[in-house]
């Protein structure tokens, strides 16, 4: 059990590229922290540096107060679960799990007891004599977990451990990992590119991009108060909708019609040199079917607009309406392009997604009047991507 501290940790490769730059991160004891971001953001490199599989170019890493930069992986007392599971194919499940104990010269009897314990915890007792080749993906994943927990390390490092599983199993294993981590109370650093995993698993999320931390905090904070366009676009599924807006005296001119400038927005704009153009961000869940909203809250003073439903997805508990905005809605921003990479289709730029109540009568090919709360709007500076509303 230990606190992991990264102080200005940097990874520079000899060819000049910087994979991670000046990362400051304090991971508390027993904390479950998620490193998330698109591929190439430096999250795996960070994990490998904590593990000792890659050298740290600059900065300091301490685990439990002791400097680790020069220590070999085996002297760091941390366990790792790999995306490929990295099970030893020539050993049985029991031998795989016992391997760290064997290297640590733990006695036969104690080793056997610990393997049994771990196997029981992970419900893989019946596979102990099998070889990894004869296990399913989920079972292999659990064996890999077993190998990590068996020696009771100071910390767990997990490198996309669920990426090779199918969707349903991934959800099951997610809950299992979460429960296991709380049960064992071991500090855990978990790397993923999947924002859903990040949101559901972590005590705190570290969202990275191009080797630089974009935002760090509890999942809700990243969701509700994204620092910039990239964070806003990356966190949340479906992604936040983004629209171009001209700032005029009548309000913000968008394809949804004019949006009156509230006091909150005015303060945000004034605090940031009153830009002439901004990007408006509205989450899909900020929209509602105007008809239903009026029935429920007749006194409401939300904004509305009418759009053409291009596609409608009914998921039972909710409906997603894809509103065609034409070409005028398209936004060119490198911040978003990277946030959406492998996450959401590019189409989300020229259309708007609204998450509707299942009672909504929205139908494909028809128009619908949508309601949205102006207070739920975020404003971003188009060039830098900074969230203006957060700067007040």
């Amino acid at each position: 059990m230990a606190e992991i501290v990264l102080d200005g940790v940097t990874k520079r490769y000899p060819d000049g590229t910087t994979a991670v730059s000046e990362l400051d991160l304090k991971i508390a004891d027993k904390e479950f922290i998620i490193l998330v971001g698109p591929s190439g953001c430096g999250k795996s490199t960070t994990l490998n540096m904590i593990a000792g599989l890659e050298d740290i170019s600059a900065g300091e890493l301490t685990i439990g107060g002791a400097r680790m930069n020069e220590k070999a992986p085996r002297d760091r007392d941390i366990a790792m679960v790999f995306q490929s599971y990295a099970l030893y194919p020539h050993m049985t499940v029991a031998e795989n799990i016992a391997f760290p104990l064997r290297l640590a010269k733990v006695g036969k009897a104690e080793s056997k007891r610990k393997v049994q314990e771990a196997a029981h915890l992970l419900d893989i007792e019946q596979f102990l004599d099998r070889r990894p080749a004869h296990l399913s993906g989920g079972q292999r994943q659990r064996v890999a977990m077993g190998r990590a927990i068996v020696r009771d390390p100071k910390a767990f490092l997990m490198d996309e451990p669920l990426s090779n599983l199918d969707a349903k199993l991934r959800v099951q294993m997610r809950t299992m990992i979460s429960r296991l981590q709380k049960h064992l109370g071991t500090t855990t650093v978990y790397v993923t590119h999947d924002q859903t995993e990040a949101m559901t698993l972590g005590d705190r999320i570290v969202l990275m991009r191009k080797g630089v931390v974009q935002q760090m905090g509890p999942p809700e904070e990243l969701y509700e108060h994204p620092h910039n366009l990239f964070v806003a676009g990356f966190i949340g599924s479906p992604s936040m909708n983004f629209l171009n807006a001209d700032v005029t005296s009548d309000g913000l001119q968008t394809v949804l019609g004019p949006i009156p400038v509230s006091d909150r927005m005015r303060r945000a704009l004034e605090a940031n040199n009153a830009p002439a153009q901004v990007i408006v961000g509205i989450r899909p869940e900020a929209f509602g079917d105007a008809r239903l909203v009026r029935e429920r809250r007749p006194e409401g003073h939300d904004l509305t607009f009418t759009g053409h439903v291009d596609v409608l997805e009914s998921l039972g508990a909710e409906k997603f309406a894809y509103i065609d905005l034409g070409s005028s809605g398209a936004i060119e921003s490198e911040h978003l392009a990277e946030a959406f990479q492998g996450n959401v289709t590019d189409q989300s730029r020229s259309q708007l997604i609204a998450r509707l109540d299942p009672m909504s009568r929205a139908r494909r090919g028809e128009n619908i009047e949508l309601d949205y709360d102006p207070d739920a709007i975020d404003l971003f500076e188009p060039e830098t991507g900074v969230n203006l509303s957060e700067r007040v």
Binding site: A51, G52, L53, A72, P73, R74, I78, A79, M80, F82, Q83, S84, Y85, A86, L87, Y88, P89, H90, F99, P100, L103, A104, R131, P132, A133, H134, L135, G137, R140, R147, R151, L157, N164
Partner: protein, 276 residues
């Protein structure tokens, strides 16, 4: 149903043709080796009377026995050395980054394609000068050289197929680099090393040109070269029977290896270590 049966039958016929074409020449030599000297030139495929006398004869021939010993000794020593230094180089090529890596691969490739005859003339003269001519080391050196490209290429492929993550995992599990190699990499590489050793041995065992050019007596002459001296013996007896028997004797180890080799390939030990 019947379509399936037709296809199976069709494949069986095709298979049979391939198998017959591959085996007939070997069976023919075997048949020849069992013919009595008097029936050698009867032009039949199968012997009319079967006899072991050709085999008995060649094992009484000191030169052939000596040739077999030379073949085995030289082949085994060359293979062992080539495997040891080839494994080291293959591991480096597959796993490490260092300048000059492509040079090592380039040299191997050049040697693999190099016409051996072009080495024979200078080696003949050099080995005579060094006193290596007509000795075991005189053959072992070129054999190692030509076995090395094969070992380096084959083994580096095997090493590359061992997931890199396994080595990392072993390090994380507390292994020293040497333990990671001994407990994880070596057991996984073993089938590849054995397979490569067999291929290297076949290469040495098969050689004829070096053996016939760089030896002058049975001191180091290997079995294939020895056989070529069977002909033109002073006896009136046609050497065909003896040659055929000798050919079968030197073929048997290879056939055994091939059966073993096939099994090695099938044991896809690394499958399942990483999800496909």
């Amino acid at each position: 149903m019947s379509r399936h049966r037709d296809r199976t039958a069709g494949w069986a016929v095709v298979d049979l043709v391939v198998v017959v074409c591959a085996l007939i020449p070997v069976v023919w030599i075997a048949a020849l080796s069992f013919k009595a000297p008097s029936t050698i030139s009867d032009g039949r495929f199968w012997p009319t009377t079967w006899t072991w006398s050709n085999y008995a004869g060649i094992f009484k021939n000191d030169d052939f026995v000596r040739g077999l010993i030379n073949s085995i000794g030289i082949g085994v020593i060359s293979t062992l050395i080539a495997i040891v230094i080839g494994t080291m180089a293959a591991y480096a090529v597959a796993r490490l980054e260092f300048p000059g890596k492509s040079l090592v691969l380039g040299i191997s490739l050049l040697i693999a394609m190099f016409p051996q005859i072009s080495l024979v003339t200078p080696l003949f003269q050099i080995e005579r000068g060094l006193g290596l001519f007509n000795t075991w080391p005189g053959l072992i050196l070129p054999y190692i050289t030509f076995a090395l490209p094969l070992t380096i290429y084959t083994l580096s492929t095997f090493f590359r197929e061992i997931p890199w993550d396994l080595e990392k995992a072993a390090k994380m599990d507390g292994a020293t680099p040497f333990q990671a190699f001994r407990l994880v990499i070596a057991p996984l590489a073993a089938p590849g090393v054995v397979t490569t050793a067999i291929l290297a041995f076949i290469l040495c065992w098969n050689d004829f040109l070096f053996s016939i050019s760089l030896t002058s007596s049975s001191a180091a002459r290997t079995a294939p070269a020895t056989i070529s001296f069977f002909s033109g013996s002073s006896q009136f007896e046609d050497p065909a029977g003896s040659i055929a028997a000798a050919a079968i004797v030197i073929t048997i180890p290879i056939v055994l290896f091939v059966l073993l080799f096939q099994r090695r390939i099938v044991s896809g030990l690394t499958s399942g270590a990483v999800k496909g």
